[in-house]
Amino acid sequence: MTALTTEMRDGGIALVTFDMPGESVNKLSREVVDEFRALMDRVDIDSSIRAVVLISGKPEMFIAGADIDQFLEIRTAAEAEAMSREGQEMVARIEKLRAPVLFAIHGACLGGGLETALAAAYRIATDHPKTVLALPEVQLGLIPGAGGTQRLPRRVGLRQSLDMILQGKNVRAKKALQIGLIDELVHPSILLDVALDRAAKLAAGTIARERGRTVHGVSDVLLEDNPVGRSVVFRKAREATKNATKGNYPAPLAAIDAIEQSYGGDAARGFSTEARLFGEMAVTDVSRQLIFLFFAGAALKKDPGVRTPGVQPTPVEKIGVLGAGFMGAGIAAIAAMQGTVVRLKDAQHERVAKGLREVHAILREQLKRKRITKRQLDDQLTLVGGTIDYSGFANAQIVIEAVFEDLAVKRAVLAEAEEAAPRAIIASNTSTIPIAQIASAARHPERVLGMHFFSPVQKMPLLEVVRSQRTSDAALATAVAYGKKLGKTVIVVQDAPGFYANRILAPYVNEAGLLLDEGVAVDAIDRALVEFGFPVGPLTLIDEVGLDIAGKSSATMLGAFGDRMVPSVSLARVIEAGRTGRKGGSGFYRYEQGKKKGVDESVYALFSSTGQRLGLGARDIVERCVFAMLNEAARCLEEGIIGSARDGDVGAVYGIGFPPFRGGPFRYLDTLGIPTVIRALEVLHGRFAPRFQPTALLRQMAGSGARFYPDRGKVH
């Protein structure tokens, strides 16, 4: 079975349908590329073929890009560079082919697929929400390697191409037309007819093969058509990239270098620069880790969450949400976005109104970003019904409890929910209280579990579905399936205090607090961890979460895990002083109108008697905070809190911002080498016992020379 099938149409137009057998998407694998070569060989010798139209045989999907599996087989930069050259050559051949090639695009056209499309003589795309074009290579730590850095700027201009390549973001069909990336935009049902017509015109010469840039404005002339303007653009791009990546991601800078070479006047040099830089990026650890996360996320999407075969999740059409606070409203909003009917309940009308206001704000943000239309916003709002009683709960499939973080309150609410929705799964959004405790008096504990969302719900991709001892497979499967429907990356965790994400966060935050006790400055701590790769430092993080909430969580951790989770004196004092962080206007930092203004120097008075700041190197700060987290993550795997290192890595990256370019705590442990980590932990344990005691699993693995991921890069 071949991926490409060719059918001759009137006037010598070869209609090539790309439909990769056995795959849900079209990929430019080695085998497929060979088929393209054979096709071009045929076109070369058969002069009856006057034009070629390429269309996809997959519904609502054009070409997803290269076969990333094949990337993982690369061992050296030279191999990768050779791969890039091969790709460039194939694409160049399409550009120079005797017969003009037309791409008829319906669905996603990404990566190598778009690079190839750029070499075609003509591009028609459909006006359809699934039709998007992108060069997402930077998201995998790579750069476009089949000529994209050279051809895209020619087509859409420098700034647009920088925007597309550096962000890797999807360009929707309408925008693609506006920027000149595609030539025509049509309704899906006439795509083929228009494509065949234009192909005939290309063959006849009534449409010119070389048409240059179709969209070209005044600012393009000023900024892009001359070297001075361009150097300004490049400088700004480099600055912005350095600020955003903090030097942790080399690919965007490499992409800028490659793009810059395309203006050098020597086309061949541009392409060879692209190939060389592609080669360099392909063997970076950063790229390995990002590709790992890509595969891990994809594998998780397919993971039903239960190990028992044949358990069917129940489709969820209606949910109840208890608590119209920030979390409850966020959950209601994302549920409405998926068409779920929601009953949003709180005790008082004022709170319900506030919740609806928040739902509206979240949906309006979607409208502003053009992700939904006004009509969709109106429809989604009608899906959320506010109530102060349990009306409408009876036929809900899931009731999600997002009330005050207090065991007694949650127990009472659970009893009410069971009464009001006798067949529903009751899911608690608790972040610290074990499900078993909440469900202790439940009539149907088999239907009680945790669905722990992260804040803000509409942005944070992770969902921890917490399974208690008594939770049934059926309930779990339904919760996992629904979490995926909501667009979340779901990991199943066992019921224990802090579950996974908050549990590994706790010792990390505590170490930061202990560093404060020792006199290290607030911003020094945060700066060190941001340099390490976290989006914000630990003290900024708890300011954001709320110091009162962090304090509560901390108390729960202490109660559950004892000595290794003792919160610092400084943290305790700051919380006692009544500071709540961002929401209260001050915590470790000052906030004015919601904007962070700098360290609140007065905070030191709360816990530092001396006023002396200890200058501690970033490396030491990072070691203490991060190794505490790594050790705890290993303990979570050891205790079966998480089912696999994969879940732990994805959970940490998506849930608490563990640096993606390091792959996650378990990937990072492998990178550092477990024996190295144990040695460091032992030194720290010597100084700070009982903390930093290396967990048994790590010792055992060090002893046997095992790694968390035996195969380099691949996920099981």
Binding site: K318, G339, V341, R343, H349, V352, A353, K354, L356, R357, H360, D378, D379, Q380, L381, T382, L383, G385, G386, T387, I388, S391, G392, A394, N395
Partner: protein, 432 residues
Amino acid sequence: MPTFGNGRRVAIVAGLRTPFEKAGTLFKSISAQELGRAVVAELVARTGLDGEEVDTLVFGTVVPSVLAPNIAREVALLPMLPKGIPAVTVSRACTSANQAITDASDQIALGHADVAIAGGAESLSSVPILHSRGFADALVAASKAKSVPARVGALARIRPRDLIPITPAIAEPSTGETMGQSAEKMAKLNHISREEQDQYALRSHRLAAAGTQDGRLTAEIMPYYVPPAYKEFALSDNGIRPDSTLEQLAALKPVFDRRYGTVTAGNSSPLTDGAAAVILMSEERARALGYAPIAYVKSYAYAALDPGEQLLQAPVLAAPQALARAGLTLGDIDLVEMHEAFAAQVLSNLRGFESQEWAERAGLTRPVGEVDRSRLNVMGGSIAIGHPFGATGARVTMTLANELKRRGGQFGLMTLCAAGGMGFAMVLENAS
């Protein structure tokens, strides 16, 4: 000839309305369509009705929105309902929601439908403002102009007087009388004193306040959180004045006849925004789906008389027809709901029921009878609760059905008057 002679009974299984808010207040930025969608979404959510079961949707509205003339279909296109529900928008002035309910009932009785949603919505805060003819003509000419000079020429024809918009008055086209003027005329013809009207208005407010206080009335009302700010919310009708006094009412000046008039703003129903809807099912389908009927539609009738005569008196002709079709007399009726467009109108209707002259006009030998005041509008009526034209019919239906069930009565009668000299009456039978 009895209604639904084929034996297929139509049950009211649930009903709900938004709070009714005086025009220009809390709901002033909300369209009738939004109100209608909100009430039906909540009704479906509360009852757990499977959208797939709904066969048809009928909605009434009086003042149409040019932007959304097909309000019923817009309601039927709610995301929690399947896209294949045919819907029709109906209009019969103040009995539009009744028209919706009887149309839906007819469809069920015919066997065309087993489950229907029917109701109505009105936003009198957003009354359409029309351009004058001169202005409209100039705009149309400008849009058809083929050149800039031609366009400018078309617009230059606009005169200052063309800019004065036409605000629709609620006047009868055939008589030129506004509804208030007709009510005034009826007060005089039927010798309804100012004091009687004020007393009646006071009664409406007191009983509505009591019903709000003890929760009987609010049980039918959904809380409405006002978009897009969601800062304010309404839980009950804001026209009800619990501490209204006779002195306050007496102090008001007559609106429609300065010199000899008795009809005031206080003894008339206010312009109001709101929506209401009910779920109707055939008796078998209700049973099959596990819904307990509240009441059955026993009979109904529409009547009409010359608008120039007594515009709002047609209930007096409709009621005996409905009773006859039900095989009942007034004596069999345990509870009565009469729409209160004006106190003068209700009191005129009541006089008419007792009148031999009106009986003969209706083809009866004896008058309908005296309505027992203790069974009439027991939780007040439109004067206090408010009157969103297109929705009132559904409100009255639901209130009657619910209160009938609460009291354990067997039959209830409702009457409504409407512009154009029309009237409506319906008999409900308690399902319990």
